[in-house]
Amino acid sequence: MDAILELRQLSKRYPAHHAVRDISLAVQRGEFFSLVGPSGCGKTTTLRLVAGFETPTAGGVWLNGDRIDHLPPYRRNVNTVFQNYALFPHLTVRGNVEFGLRRTRTPNVEDVATRVRKVIEQVRLTGKESRKPSDLSGGERQRVALARSLVLAPDVLLLDEPLSALDPQLRKQVRSELKDLQRRVGVTFLFVTHDQEEALSLSDRLAVMNAGVLEQVGTPQEIYQRPRTRFVASFLGSMNWIDDIGVRPEAIRVSHSAPPGVASRCGTVTRSTFLGSSVQAEVQLESGDRVLAQMPVDGNIFAEGELVHIFWNSLDELRVP
């Protein structure tokens, strides 16, 4: 195991609330690691503790084996892509990308120019070096923010919801570009998001946070298929709870007649939605619980008010404490 970034028993307590509670995790070199959770869960505070904008109340941060939590941000070899990008409005694209390189004690002019040209090429901004941030599109601004950080070759790149400022159409495209870029440059990413789909599709591993606590760490498959807490099960994807057993909507089957040989429940279809590639039905059971079922389009389509039976394969049951 080659951990590049390690958080040990990290806590951050404000007068009014306890933002981060006793978090320990290790991020591996070259990994795309996500911190995911609802807003206010402490994920951004955790990122800011790593960047150095906050000091921990307890615990520590190790980077490459060195303790860094007492260092100011400008002495840590990590860089941040801010949620609003925080590009310097008075500088051009080149000025923004050069900013960090010029802050070193003896900037080598040729070296700066070469590195800037290379990184601007990597994020496909060649030809736009002389523009001001106000003359760029949202996607271009995000790439300037990436280039500005990547040019410094950080040990870990911290990304604070970098896709949330983009419109939904662009977001999916930029998402795959981001993954490609990370693979190409090989930098470790610590990515903060509240979007579970983003976290599942991008990450090598992810950590789910809730109310300042780390609920579970693992690969997307592990966490989706074997959630350790009810919170994780419900937060990543949707989940039906039937008598304390969790069943994903895509594992629920619906039919008009009771299926032979398996346990089934009776209910009434309360809503039926055509989603293009699938059909979603909401069924109200006799117990009053509502169950969501997601089925392929080729099956039967159920009308609202119909009496149906729902069932599932026992292998798809999730038992969560």
């Binding site: 904008f53 941040t80 310097f88 900013f99």
Partner: protein, 274 residues
């Protein structure tokens, strides 16, 4: 009449009556001949303006611009750190801002007299220094350029702190974090990010001090004595003891013209005057 027209009418009428009309009158006066007992009479002449070319008045103009410039720069140098400090004072911000404007509760005249009591030969500072035997002769602190600049800086410091505070407060804090994140030390961030981004506010604060200092006559009269005559005192004298209204009018218009030319020349590219 539209409501918005109605709303601006009182202010516009006041400005017209007390600024535009008197300015027009001053403009006409400056081209007339002085009357024997004050006032103005025919014929029209350019003589008032040609008199201003006299080196004596040139020296007064240069001194006025020099003193106003030094006062404006000192106000910025003192005011910017103070404004920065207030911006970062968290819950005590409002207390500090109130302290900045507290002197306005006393008349400017009284505060200027207070400086005289401090600075004069038999004043507090000289007396204390002499009693402590640090000096034997009183230091000449009053009735010189230094005293005028001190009085102006003291009087106009709040006028720089308030706009600078407003500018700094609006500055996006994430830009400062981004600078630190990219390896910039605090001093570097101040000169590379904070000051460049506050440039319009800094320029506005400078103009807000420079322009009134140019026309000042009270401070220079009380703290400068007879040795430090500024344009303001020159104009005041022409309208009072010298009874040369037309020359006073020409001098004040010339001051306005030179000040405006300088401000236009100093404004940033593609920016408005203020």
């Amino acid at each position: 009449m539209k409501l918005r027209t109605l709303f601006i009418t009182p202010a516009a009428a006041l400005m017209l009556a007390t600024l535009a009309v008197p300015l027009l009158i001053i403009c006409v006066y400056s081209f007339l001949t002085r009357g024997a007992y004050g006032g103005v009479e025919q014929p029209f002449t350019l003589e008032n303006y040609s008199r201003l070319l006299d080196p004596l008045y040139g020296a007064i103009f240069v001194r006025s611009f020099w003193i106003a410039g030094v006062a404006a720069v000192l106000c910025l140098v003192l005011g910017f750190p103070l404004a920065l400090f207030i911006t970062r004072s968290g819950t005590r911000k409002n207390l500090y801002l109130s302290l900045v404007i507290l002197p306005f509760w006393t008349s400017f005249l009284i505060r200027t007299y207070a400086w005289m009591f401090l600075l004069r030969d038999t004043g507090l500072i000289n007396t204390v220094l002499q009693v402590l035997r640090i000096i034997h002769e009183p230091l000449p602190m009053l009735y010189n350029n230094g005293a005028v600049i001190l009085g102006l800086v003291y009087g106009f410091l709040p006028f720089t702190v308030l706009p600078l505070y407003a500018t700094l407060e609006r500055l996006d804090k994430s830009l400062l974090e981004a600078a630190a994140d990219l390896g910039s030390k605090p001093w570097d961030t101040l000169f590379r990010v904070t000051i460049p981004l506050c440039a319009p506010g800094i320029r506005a604060a400078a103009i807000l001090v420079f322009v009134p200092c140019l026309g000042t006559y009270l401070t220079s009269d009380l703290l400068g004595g007879s040795k430090t005559i500024l344009i303001g005192n020159l104009v005041q004298n022409q309208f009072t003891s010298a009874r040369d209204w037309s020359f006073g009018a020409a001098a004040s218009l010339a001051l306005m013209a030179v000040a405006m030319i300088l401000l236009f020349a100093a404004r940033g590219r593609g920016e408005e005057l203020l």
